[in-house]
Amino acid sequence: MKIVVCIKQVPATNDAKIDPETKRIIREGLKAILNPFDTYAVEEAVQLRERFGGEVIVLSMGPEKAALSIREAVSVGADRGVLLSDRAFGGSDTWATSYALANAIRKIGDVDLVICGKQAVDGDTAQVGPGIAAHLDWKQATYVMAVEDASDDSIVVKRMHEDGYDICELKLPAVVTVVKDINTPRIPTLRGRLASEKIEVPVWKPADIGADLSKIGLDGSPTRVVRTAPPPPRNTVTKKISGTSAECADALIKELRLRSIL
């Protein structure tokens, strides 16, 4: 099975601090990490290769330093990676991003399965996975919590829904997006680390993937951010309640009534 895992490098929130004024997270100066949901996508791909054979190729779009996230995926078992990096890709929204990734998947060739994380934690849209499936005209399954079975030409997955789950069979090729429940990502081995340092990460430009320049970057993006503003301010003063448990409960009920919640 030839599997492509699409990954994204995102800002790490681990070391973030809360701004005491606005009570929101300070994002400036954060280092970059592999999107947490993508670690499950990489692990699932590596497990499938271990069970059924084949190859795991990691694909990302971003600045050149995003190659580090590709190396991280190789350190935990991916075979190789490709990076789409060029000024012309900059400013892509989810439509343009999924177009570029789909073109790269075609260029990689003979791909059976694409695995993505459910969403990236910076944009939170969950649109790129289904977008890739649409550009390729492949079947899709989102919010996948287990891969039940797989063969050369099909995969059986369990999808999470608001009111339960279902199990469905998709003929390959297909795109699946995975949630955290699906596995426990492994820790890199020494051999994996060495492999990740040695590997060459080819950088592809729009021409390499036959991309129509009017469909990538800012020009290829139907949506455009026209304004950014701070979010509506939170109550910056915390109302403090303490006392006996009964007093606390009473005071809290009063607060909820005051706000017409009860």
Partner: protein, 338 residues
């Protein structure tokens, strides 16, 4: 479709809402979005259409007029009894090509988030996820879509000036459902599902619906969430009792989920769900950044903890210092049964 001028834009009209159907029933998010669609359509002088896809859903179509719909576009077919994104996307794309809506709004649910990106790509439309505010330029119909970005640290307003239709998803409970007006009527239009819609699709082998599995963090007005301080799976019982009393949902921190005390579907935070409820009650959750990004956009945050100095207690609107195992049951007891 890319549009080059206002004349081409004017080929597209009306505001559509994609109805959310779960276990055969229209969900409240549909009514909430109908209210917003009505506001947009009134500013623009156009109509609200609701698209209803599913199996045996036709008889519910008439209920949607009361919430502001002028027309209901129905495709009712056994092939859509379960969620088959590929079929629904093909049917929706055909409807869009035929009737050319200016705006399409869909619930940001697991189904909506799977379906709409697929449709947006095929129809070459702009799509914005998880909008918290929608407004319209009455002159040219451009939709002004506001959404939180970077974990709620920035509100970005997004415009899609040169593509039609314009598509948005909105989470349940973000918009307010209008009071139903039973006197309103409208027109029901039926569209067929064709044989070609049903070829080369996935095969759904097994379906499991359960009200117990229904966590519905996205659909709740009040979430009460627990962390490591709940001490074990039984600890969550007091949260369940409270949630049941107020019609809310139970959330959890990653620590509690990783400990196996409660299923992953309850997890709030960066690798769980992002929630935007009216009230979020954090019980013994210290407030790691990864948790805070998942709930900091809730309207009212209440923290209950023994330790008054945790990040959660400091960011909360109301911080209660005390014993969760006494305060939560006392709260539940003090709230009259619904």
């Amino acid at each position: 479709m890319r549009v080059n001028d206002d004349k081409q834009k004017n080929d597209y009209s009306n505001v559509w809402v994609i109805a959310e159907v779960l276990s055969g029933k229209i969900q409240p998010v549909t009514h909430e979005l109908a209210g917003t669609a009505r506001m947009l359509a009134d500013k623009r002088g156009s109509e609200v259409w609701i698209v209803l896809l599913g199996n045996n859903v036709s008889e519910q179509a008439g209920t949607l007029f009361a919430y502001g719909a002028d027309k209901v576009l129905v495709a009712d077919d056994g092939s859509m009894a379960n969620f088959n994104d590929e079929i629904e996307a093909r049917v929706l794309v055909r409807m869009i090509d035929k009737y050319k809506p200016e705006i399409v709004i869909c619930g940001a649910t697991t189904r909506g988030r799977a379906l709409i990106p697929r449709v947006a790509v095929v129809t070459d439309s702009g799509l914005t996820a998880d909008c918290t505010e929608l407004d319209i330029d009455p002159e040219n119909g451009d939709l002004l879509q506001t959404r939180p970005a970077f974990g709620g640290n920035i509100m970005a307003t997004i415009r899609c000036s040169d593509h039609r239709p314009q598509m948005s998803t909105v989470r349940p409970r973000v918009m307010k459902a209008p009071d139903p007006d039973p006197g309103r009527t409208g027109e029901i239009i039926t569209e067929n599902v064709t044989v070609s819609d049903k070829i080369d699709i996935k095969r759904i082998l097994e379906v499991f619906h359960s009200s117990e599995a229904a966590v519905n963090l996205a659909d709740a007005q009040i979430i009460i969430a627990g962390g490591r301080a709940m001490k074990g799976p039984e600890g969550f019982d007091i949260l369940r009792a409270f949630a049941a009393r107020v019609g809310g949902a139970v959330g959890a921190s990653r620590a509690a989920v990783d400990a196996g005390w409660i299923p992953y579907a309850h997890q709030v935070g960066q690798t769980g769900q992002t929630v935007q409820t009216k009230v979020y009650i954090a019980c013994g959750i210290s407030g790691q950044i990864q948790h805070l990004v998942g709930m900091q956009s809730c309207d009212l945050i209440i923290a209950i903890d023994k330790n008054p100095d945790t990040p959660m207690m400091q960011m909360a609107d109301i911080a209660v210092t005390g014993d969760i195992f006494e305060i939560v049951p006392a709260l539940t007891a003090a709230i009259p049964k619904l």
